[in-house]
Symmetry: C2
DNA sequence: CACTTGGGTGAGAACGTTCTCAATCTGTGG
DNA sequence: CCACAGATTGAGAACGTTCTCACCCAAGTG
């Protein structure tokens, strides 16, 4: 019976008493600051060991003003993009002795606001935020004004005083679209995953609309898609652009819809890997083969992209690096960097496999 | 210019002064405890609003002894199993007003120990741990002894005073194996993902070995696989059991190895979905078709399992529920539950699709 | 010898809350 | 007018650290 003695954790004062020194000296010995004689240090360390002393980081934070905690806000931790990015953030944080307080915002603006409030009260030293599509700029700016540096991941919020890390969405989408065009496809569908509002904006032509749109991630990719078509002299067809939700079932439905059009697309560009799954599912259901009947290119190099038949051609983002870079940037700020705000764009890589073939 | 006034956050004392009351009264008004006159409350609330007051939860925690924080330790946040379970935990926590401090242990025992130490110092109110395979029982027990309740997720640690949540791994694996046997397969390979040590134990026959093995998740599944074979009168063949690492490439290599045997398996049971991807990749490389040439059944109903060709037959775990249940169990303990330790087993579900067919 | 130097030490303040307790105020009944 | 219950209030302790400051002492230095 090593019978769980569950006594309250001893404070530094108890340890000091046990070692026969003052709390100040005990603090110095345990904390490794100031100067302590060898004799005192050994007495204190021995006493601490004997009593099972563990410092209370809450009390320490009150004094030092640092919690050594980074808040991380993501819309959906189950999305492989965010779980991988989170890993990058967490690794960067651990490397420098920080921990991560995670909140899932579920793409819900109310939850996001609430989380910002809670994390402010917890006095996190900084915040990595992948905002919801319609992010609350004022709520975020309020955090910044409270002295908590913010780094935006993947998505941008115009006018916010914060560093951002992401890819060049517009260029990446343009490149992917161009590859499909070069393979001879003249009719390319775009699965955005966004909602109706986005769809309205997309179908309303004119540079103005496209520019405004390019502020969001999905919008920027849609703009790149459009860029490629226009440059290649292909008339964009609004009915080929789908924005009917970002679940797999939504993508399957959207796929069935565009393929039922009078002049159906011969290629599809899906803006994330979950949407691509929906496309594959729909194709199977329709008895169509990829790439023989329909070519497919998707964003994000998912685990399964290489293993399935046919292996999927993708636009790969350096997801882990995006997270790690966001973490590093944030910690630089936390540790006092006063540089101008940077907007870091990491390079993407097109991985050609077998899901897109020439027509 | 709304020029970021970055003044330090005001304390309750400043608010009290501004409102013309004592800190005690201000505290009552803001914290909603004790009794305060309408007039005082309104004055305090107005002052707080004006000054942008945000309570400091560190100070609060020092007094109340509650951080309203749950520590979560997972081996790999990128693994869909854990990211989904994490979501369950986080949702359960939020529901009751708790936050989640996340640490990735990377299957590294040293990191796990370090994390336990850090989270203890941070005075988390409780801990959900998915331990590494060779978990350090003493380190975990030390946490429990420090008065921090622990709930184990997915994996068990013999002798630890903690609740556990998981599935009946042995029964689930036995069921999956039986289904393959019923389809007429006499030669079924098992991809465990574990390492050499596990393989040694598995190849050493005898009830004793199997029983000891059943303590870990992988071990229990291996035992279930063996149970099914033995009951069906099929002689287990050690060379059909692979334990060569849990990365996709490892699984692919293992698949090639077993298929090159003189009497190759006609069916494969993969103990997680990443391993299944490796199998599919290897089959493609060998020009073999699934299920015509080789049947495949895997643990975990991954996103892509239904969308690929052929759709994968799987043993589905209620992953989200496992996490949520762990969170709830832990919060019950945090809030003073004194019940005996429970070991909750949630039911699994076999989803029959098209990757396993009769021989 | 007087005077500096600097390691070592302890008392007590500080951080920002909540809690305890006694004092004051208010209104009511006798 | 007095006694009394109950609401309201403020002073100050408490939580467990780190930090500031003044002090002591031994070892040089002139």
């Amino acid at each position: 019976m090593s019978g769980s003695v569950r006594r309250a954790m001893p404070s530094i004062e108890i340890v000091a008493k046990e070692a026969g020194v003052s709390t100040a000296t005990a603090g110095r010995a345990l904390g490794g600051y100031g100067s302590v004689s060898r004799k005192s240090r050994e007495a204190v360390l021995a006493a601490a060991e004997r009593l099972g002393y563990r410092p209370n980081s809450l009390a320490r934070s009150m004094i030092t003003g640092l919690t050594h905690t980074l808040g991380v806000l993501v819309p959906d931790i189950e999305n492989p993009f965010f779980s991988r990015a989170l890993r990058g953030i967490a690794d960067a944080a651990h490397e420098r002795g920080w921990e991560v307080l995670l909140v899932n915002t579920d793409e819900d603006l109310t939850l996001e606001r609430k989380a910002l409030s809670v994390l402010t009260e917890r006095r996190v030293d900084g915040l990595v935020v992948a905002p919801t599509d319609v992010a609350d700029r004022d709520a975020l700016q309020a955090v910044v004004d409270a002295g908590i540096p913010v780094v935006l991941l993947d998505r941008r919020v115009p006018g916010l005083e914060a560093d951002t890390v992401g890819i060049d969405n517009r260029a990446a989408a343009k490149d992917a679209t161009e590859r499909l065009l070069k393979l001879g496809h003249r009719s390319v569908a775009l699965l955005t995953g966004g909602d109706e509002k986005l769809r309205d904006k997309l179908s309303r032509p004119g540079l103005r609309g496209v520019e405004r749109l390019a502020a969001t991630t999905v919008g920027a990719r849609a703009a790149g898609y459009r860029d490629a078509l226009v440059e290649a002299g292909v008339e964009p067809r609004p009915e080929l652009v789908s924005a009917e939700g970002f679940r797999r079932a939504d993508a399957a439905a959207a796929t069935r819809r565009v393929l039922a059009l009078p002049d159906p697309p011969t290629a599809i560009l899906a803006l994330d890997s979950l949407l691509a799954l929906g496309v594959l599912q729909a194709l199977r259901g329709l008895g169509l083969r990829c790439p023989a009947d329909v070519s497919l290119v998707a964003f994000d190099d998912a685990d399964w992209a290489e293993a399935i038949s046919p292996p999927l051609s993708v636009v790969a983002q350096p997801i882990y690096e995006l997270g790690a870079e966001a973490g590093r940037l944030l910690l630089d700020r936390v540790q006092g960097s006063d540089k101008r705000f940077t907007h870091r764009r990491l390079p993407t890589r097109f991985i050609e496999r077998e899901s897109a073939s020439s027509r």
